[in-house]
């Protein structure tokens, strides 16, 4: 049901055809709730069948073909608000990187460190992406955001931008935390490989 909320949230910025929605999804909400197009198309049809969305055929090309444009129906807007009213349900932890690390004693020599370096690379990349996203939001150049802001007063606009930036700051902090964690892990592995060469600042007594 969360995908549904993500779609409602995206459509609250204005009507979109299926394809445009899929594209905009992956460069906006998709950053906090990923979904492939194969999940989006059927869900849109279900939401339409349940009256959350209205649809209208718009021409596609010159040969009379059409594509479907979806818009938030009143029931959809109500569902959005209802979603925000619902308490959050937390999914149980399922973290492949943590699982690996917990059993590093089974990793052949060197592999654990390589794993952690890959972890750092991954979150470094995500950190950068998130920074760009935050910039695009703050400068209001992000297309989906710009479209959304047009619907509101200036005061409300500021709040909306702050909420989105806040959400991405959470992602940013998470990425940075993962990087710091992996670096500590590399330190531990080094300590184990070369015992006795420990940093004298941290262990002044030995």
């Amino acid at each position: 049901m969360t995908l549904r909320s993500a779609l409602l949230a995206l459509l609250s910025s204005g009507p979109l055809t299926g394809y445009d929605l899929v594209k905009q999804f992956s460069s906006s909400v998709g950053h906090v709730w990923h979904a492939p197009d194969s999940q989006i198309y059927p869900e849109l049809r279900r939401m339409h069948a349940e009256g959350l969305l209205s649809s209208k055929p718009v021409p596609w090309g010159t040969r009379g073909a059409t594509k479907t444009e979806y818009a938030l129906a009143p029931a959809g807007e109500a569902a959005l608000i209802e979603w925000q009213n619902q308490p959050l349900t937390y999914v149980r932890d399922r973290d492949p990187a943590r699982l690996r690390a917990a059993y590093f004693e089974w990793a052949p020599s060197g592999v654990a460190a390589a794993q952690l370096r890959a972890h750092i690379a991954h979150y470094d990349e995500q950190r950068l992406q998130t920074l760009y996203m935050i910039q695009a939001l703050e400068q209001r150049t992000h297309p989906t955001l710009a479209r959304r802001l047009a619907l509101y007063s200036e005061e409300e606009r500021e709040h909306i931008v702050r909420f989105k930036v806040f959400a991405y700051e959470g992602q940013l902090a998470h990425a940075e935390q993962e990087i710091a964690w992996a670096k500590r892990g590399l330190q531990i592995l080094e300590d184990i490989e070369n015992p006795g060469t420990s940093d004298p600042v941290n262990e002044p007594g030995t």
Copy 2:
């Protein structure tokens, strides 16, 4: 396939019956990779069928009933090492809390703050649990860990404990980061509710 690795990892501490495995799972590996018993039992049978596990019937009660005890077969041990050799595959972000926060403009007054307070409560709880876990690991009182350590030399024992503590420290840091994030969120909401009453330390010019 990650559940499979988690089960192999747990069984590497010694043989277990299905039930005992389910119990120990939820109080050890399950903290980093949750799985319900309904997923564990069938997976065990599949792993046995594929030769990763050996099994032997052990008596249950006095009326001749038996239960199945599983142990890591050589192929299972190989699979464990192979798993550690594999590069990590990262799952795409799917974070309900972040998704909510990004669309707080749809939350009725007061609801967003309640959401964030619940977020803090949730991660406070997890933080505590993780702290206890780290303590049990460091003092080597955790039963599954104790059983595992018995199989190794003292030097290896120290490494094993460090790896597990390291993994849980990652969880701990994450929990603390989530708490800090939600607190910043509450601050933002307050700012929005009472504009002008902003902290003079942060905005000395106004």
